[in-house]
């Protein structure tokens, strides 16, 4: 599997973050895994980074329903980041939401990938092969 420098997990559920981090680490998918408990924590981190930072995630796995700043509010704020800060970065929704509108809302904000929880090795592999192979 392709190896990334850094992956960010944005989710308020501790069990989700713990298991996803361990899955990513066990498959050797990324050198670093960052955890943010809501969109605001993540956007604060992203807004301080430049293109060369080792803590700039190449892949962001984003939940929708979170306190303080949810996934859609994060995407609205994310859009305002500089192109340099967002360069070569893929945001994937990872949610247990059954709301039919959520996928459409994500697409409206430019998100092409929408995964259902739980994250699996196969899902991860598909994303990596699609966006990072070669």
């Amino acid at each position: 599997m392709t190896k990334l420098n850094c992956i960010a997990l944005v989710d308020d559920d501790q069990t989700t973050n713990f298991l996803n981090k361990r899955l990513i680490e066990s498959k050797g998918v990324a050198d670093k895994v960052l955890i943010f408990k809501n969109g605001e924590e993540a956007i604060n981190h992203f807004s301080k980074l430049d293109e060369s930072s080792e803590l700039r995630p190449q892949l962001v796995l984003l939940d929708i329903n979170m306190p303080i700043m949810n996934g859609f509010e994060f995407l609205d704020a994310y859009k305002e980041l500089s192109d340099t800060q967002k360069a070569d970065q893929i945001v994937v929704m990872l949610s247990s939401s059954e709301q039919p509108n959520d996928k459409a809302e994500a697409q409206k904000r430019g998100i092409e990938e929408y995964l259902s929880k739980p994250l699996t090795e196969d899902n991860l592999k598909t994303i990596l092969e699609k966006y990072y192979a070669g």
């Binding site: 069990t15 899955l23 739980p118």
Partner: protein, 103 residues
């Protein structure tokens, strides 16, 4: 009770460690579901706990939380809470026995 394809993704010790997070966290969320005073709060916590159940492969219990999340009224949502609490207790009992978790 658990989806083996999900559980088997993780090292058994890692999964057991995750249960050490899941058990107190989900129990607290369940209490918030039980004490919810309005439909929005109720469905929001139901969604949250559903995600936790799915992460550990407890799809059957997640489906009960989904019934609350999809409810059209506070009363309808509340009508499924007792069943969810009962299923949650059975799940915890199973997890504690299967993974030799104390408490």
């Amino acid at each position: 009770m658990l989806d083996k394809t999900i559980v088997d993704q993780y090292d058994p010790e890692v999964f057991k460690e995750a249960l050490g997070i899941f058990i107190p966290d989900s129990t607290e969320v369940l209490s918030k579901i039980d004490n919810s005073k309005d439909h929005e709060t109720l469905t929001s916590w139901a969604h949250r706990i559903k995600g936790s159940y799915l992460m550990i492969g407890a799809k059957g219990v997640a489906d009960l939380a989904l019934l609350i999340e999809r409810s059209q009224s506070f009363e309808e949502g509340k009508s499924h809470v007792a069943e969810l609490k009962s299923a949650h207790e059975r799940l915890l009992s199973f997890l504690k026995t299967s993974y030799q978790i104390e408490g």
